[in-house]
Each structure stands twice: as C-alpha cells, then as structure tokens.
Amino acid sequence: MVDASPLWVSLRAVSLSTVVVFFLGLLLARATMDMKGRKAFLIDMICTLPMVLPPTVTGFFLLVVFGRNSLFGRLLKNIGVSMIFSWQATVLAVSVVSFPLMYRGAKGALKQVPKEHVWVARTLGMKEGRILWRIMMPEAWPGVGAGLALAFARALGEFGATMMIAGNIPGKTQTIPMAIYFATAGGDMRSAWIWVGIITVLSCVALACMEYAGRKNE
C-alpha cells in the first residue's frame, strides 16, 4: 500500500498557505491599489518576483534568510524556532511561491470596482475595512476567487523551493510533488502514477472552483 502521508503534508501546507496568502494578498492589494509611481512599481515587482523566478532561486533566498547560519535564522534559533527542515518550512515555501498569484489577481479585480461605490460608502460613514469586505469584495469576487484558486493550485504543485528549505522527510515535509519525484527516481512507477492522478484531480478541482466563482457573478 502506498503511504498516504504526502497527501496530508501537502494538504496541511496548502490549506494553511492559502489562508495566509488570501488575507496577506488581499490586504496588500488593497493597500497598494491606489499607489502610483516608482513606489508602486517597486512593490509590484517584489511581490511578483516569486512567480517568475525559478523556485530554486526563491528557495535559495529563503535558505539564506532562514538558514541556521543566517542572522535571521540565528535570531529564530535563540527563541527556539528552527525553520529549516520543519513542516512549517513547507508552509513558508508554498506561501511565498503562491503569493503573487493571489496578490496580482486581487489587485486587478479590486481596481475594477467603480470608485464611486467606494466614495458613496465613505460619505455614508462606512469604515474602510467594512468597505473592502462588503462593497468591494462582492464586486471583485470573480477576480479575487480566480487568484485564490490559482494560488492554491500553484501551492499544491510547489517542489523546488520546498525541497530546498524543508528537505524530504517522509511523514513530515514530503509533499506530493516530492513523493512523485522520489517514486520515479526509485523506479516505483505505481506510486508515481497514483500521486500523479491525485494531484491532477486536485488541480482540476481548483480550476473548476475558479470557473464556478467567475460564473456565479455573471
């Protein structure tokens, strides 16, 4: 029987990262959507980089920042946190890699919301947080939902950066893509097929959700 642990490791990493990425992406998109000029460009670039850089580069940066010999890594160690090769590292890696998809999706969608609606809400004394949640989100949802679904799918497929900072520990940090890599390299084609099937189905479900979110609002 194939060990089911990669499924749980993947689901844990992906569900946690999706929650983190949803709120961070949405809030940052809201905070920066009206910015213009060089500052906006710079923030956009930094937040999009993990999407276009090879995951090994993202992994390398994470390793340099969080590794045991880095300044930040040592700080964490002093408070008893060791990021490298822990399950938390899988969450960190997939969050960083999938963040741009949510951020870009949410930002594009929020920008489409007519400004007048926001202004009207403001003159009626609505708080900014409530405006985002009750006025902008319902209108922007198809785009935000699509960004979220893409971020979910990307997180599920993350391999390179995760391998570099979380290592391959079966039952702890071995995600489905890693299980596929090692099953293939070890000649265990049966397990590889099973995992390939599972991840394909999960990704299709994510894309179907995206379609559904888009259609509901038409």
């Binding site: 045991r68 090769f85 290592g167 391959n168 090692f182 000649g187």
Partner: protein, 255 residues
C-alpha cells in the same frame, strides 16, 4: 535609427542561431549520464579527452543514479551510463538496454561521516545518537546509491531505530553535501570523494568495513546509442592510465 539598429541586431542574432559549422567540422556528440558523485572528476576527464579528440563533443548529465536509470528507461538519448551503484546498472541490463559486453566495474569509493566545518566533531557513527545531533542528511535510499549504503550500515550497526526521526532524505549525494556545508544539518553521510572536494566539511569517521556492500561504480554503453564507436572509445579511455590518475586525484580507487 534606433529601431533600425534593433532590427538589425535581431537579424544578426537569429542568423547566428542557425549558423552551423561545416559538415567535416561538426563533432559527434556523446551524452554521458553520470552519478552526481562523479561531477568534478568527469568534468576534468571530458575536457582532457576532448583536447585530444576534437572530433567528439562530450556532454554530461549528472544526477542520482536512480533518476538517470529511469531517464534511460524512458528513452533519454544517453550514450554512456556511469552509475554509482551496481543495482541501477543491473536494472538496465535486465531490461536489455545496455550493451552487455561493455559493462564493466571501474571504481570503488568509501562512505564517510561528515560534519560542518566548525561543527561538533563526532568520533563514530554511534555518536549520531547524541541529542546534539538533531538532523542527519542521507541520500534517499530508493534512488540514491549512497543512501542505500547508509541505510544498510545503520541497519547492520543497529542504529536504524534510534536515528529514524533525525534523517532528512536528499535527492542526490551533492545535496547531502550542501546541507552539511551550510550547517543546516549537524551531520551527513557522503562518499569520501565528495567530502574531499568541499572545504566546508570535515570527515569524522569511515563506515566500518563490512557494514555495507562495497561501493562499486560500473560503466557501460547504452544499446540505443547512435555513436556506439565513439562511446566505446571514450569508455576505453576511462580505463587508460591518464584517466586512472585523474580518478585517483579525486579520491577514487580504481579496480
């Protein structure tokens, strides 16, 4: 004017892509799939060989022997397979993918325990049980030969259970080395030759004699090769005195 210049550059670049050396100049390409532990050694061997043989161009593809074996099974256009384990070579032979008379054992290597430079020294494999050793990097046993030897050693020394929760499995031997070098694990098991090329690690102990099967590297020509003669010639070169000296320089024992 600027645009004209840009267009001109594009044309030049495209042109250079398609430009090829004339027929008699074009060297025959041989692709070698070699175990990750052979990387540095093979780089030197192939450039030395190409100096004397301008008619061939050797390209090397490095990875864990298990991945390389799979790639060849799936039709990767490799001409020579240089494995760090007998198991992977035999798997290809049993599927009839190797030219059997070309498959020979060529090198022997050792498995050693390493720690990061400046890290805590360990005097034997038993010390891995210490609480200060939180994580140990090893090769993934199913696909990375050094991982198989490591697993076998731990089993024979009765360490398997005690160390189980400390192991991090790397996708090839070089990854084990880099995890130790960067101090992200407290110890790792690699080949002696890998330990030798790194300034960032210290060898603490060798695995005891008889604790694992001998580390033998076989080499052979792939049946599907489109340049069998050139591949055979290069294989022959690997057994020459010049090649032997290079192997030894990198810490291998020649059989």
């Amino acid at each position: 004017m600027k645009r004209l210049y840009a267009i001109g550059c594009c044309f030049l670049l495209t042109g250079s892509l398609f430009a090829q050396p004339t027929a008699e100049m074009r060297p025959v390409e041989i692709l070698i799939s070699a175990a990750a532990s052979l990387t540095n050694c093979m780089d030197e061997l192939k450039s030395t060989y190409m100096e004397g043989h301008p008619e061939v161009k050797i390209t090397a593809n490095y990875g864990s022997s298990g991945s390389l074996q799979q790639q060849i099974e799936q039709g990767a256009p490799a001409d020579i397979f240089f494995s760090a384990g007998i198991k992977q070579m035999q798997a290809l032979q049993s599927k009839g993918l190797m030219l059997d008379d070309t498959v020979k054992n060529i090198l022997e290597n050792k498995v050693v325990l390493i720690v990061p430079k400046g890290g805590e020294m360990l005097s034997s494999l038993d010390d891995l049980k210490k609480a200060s050793v939180e994580k140990i990097a090893v090769g993934e046993p199913k696909s990375v030969p050094v991982g198989q030897y490591t697993e076998e050693t731990f089993k024979n020394l009765g360490l398997t259970e005690a160390l189980q929760n400390k192991l991090v499995y790397a996708k090839d031997v070089r990854e084990v080395l880099s995890w130790v070098e960067t101090g992200n694990v407290q110890a790792g098991l690699v080949y002696e030759t890998d330990a030798k090329i790194s300034d960032g690690v210290v060898v603490c102990a060798e695995t005891p004699e008889g604790s694992h099967k001998k580390v033998i590297y076989p080499v052979g020509v792939v049946k599907e090769s489109k340049a069998v003669d050139e591949a055979k010639a290069f294989e022959e070169y690997l057994f020459s005195d010049e090649a032997k000296a290079i192997f030894k320089k990198y810490g291998f024992s020649v059989i």
